[in-house]
Symmetry: C2
């Protein structure tokens, strides 16, 4: 069982501890593997509409997501979100729960759709999960991601109508 | 004949005078039709890698473009650009010249590709021009743009390999 709620300022340090190792692998997220804590804070807290964290039964932080406006102005009815699950808490359905929560939160805020701009095509677990949760692949950018092991790989644009 | 060069701080006011009427139509750019000068400055000057302006024979400002990193970190080899041509200077090939210039500038800065994230599908003149200049449609987002006259219309992701 996990609970998902808005991040509290004092939880950022713990959140960064689970984010940094995920970014460092360079195989799933666009952020630089050596992204600094300040840069991550700017992207995930200062630059987002909202940030939520998932906690397990013991109160340990196991995941985090941000919710943003994907484009300004006349594209602002589309939300964007990003997710990180602790490497210690995989295969427990936490990413799915974060994604479902973010969709509900986006709807609550009046967004009509959700879009992911840079899903790494070789991250099959993620692609399949987003598809299972109703997202469609609506675009494929050739060599959009510089994968730490595989070199340049395609990225996907994925989209779901929420309302 | 036009010349294209990096914008000087004292040219922003003139640039905003040609940008505002284009954004106000709400049919081609994601920016809100009532975007403020400060918001435009944040997006086009503060938030960009570089901003260039086109001037005609008389030194009048007739177009502007920005160049940005499309995604941080492992997506940062892809550039993004946006263009505005004065409504008084259409059908003179200025958009094409701005786009060609932005590609050369992106290459000079080490970018390997260029991507447009939200090309309004009903803006046929633009879509055809970008295709003529070598961009491919690599994605189509349903109802990604709230068109001032047409309501929700699809948006295109367009991409070109530069190197």
């Amino acid at each position: 069982m996990i609970t998902i709620e808005a991040i509290k300022p004092e939880e950022w340090s713990e959140a960064w501890k689970i984010m940094q190792p995920v970014f460092a692998t360079g195989d799933t997220c666009a952020y630089a593997p050596d992204i600094t804590e300040a840069e991550a804070f700017a992207a995930w807290i200062k630059g987002s509409e909202a940030t939520f964290v998932a906690k397990d039964d013991h109160g340990a932080l196991v995941g985090i997501y941000y919710l943003k406006i994907n484009q300004p102005g006349l594209g602002s009815h589309v939300a964007n979100a990003g997710y990180v699950v602790s490497t210690q808490a995989r295969k427990r359905g936490i990413a799915a729960q974060l994604c479902e929560h973010s969709q509900a939160e986006a709807k609550r805020r009046g967004f009509l759709a959700m879009q992911f701009n840079i899903v790494v095509s070789t991250n099959e677990v993620a692609v399949k999960l987003w598809q299972k949760l109703g997202f469609q692949i609506v675009g494929r950018v050739p060599e959009g991601f510089r994968h730490a092991q595989l070199g340049f790989v395609d990225t996907l644009v994925m989209w779901k109508k929420l309302v």
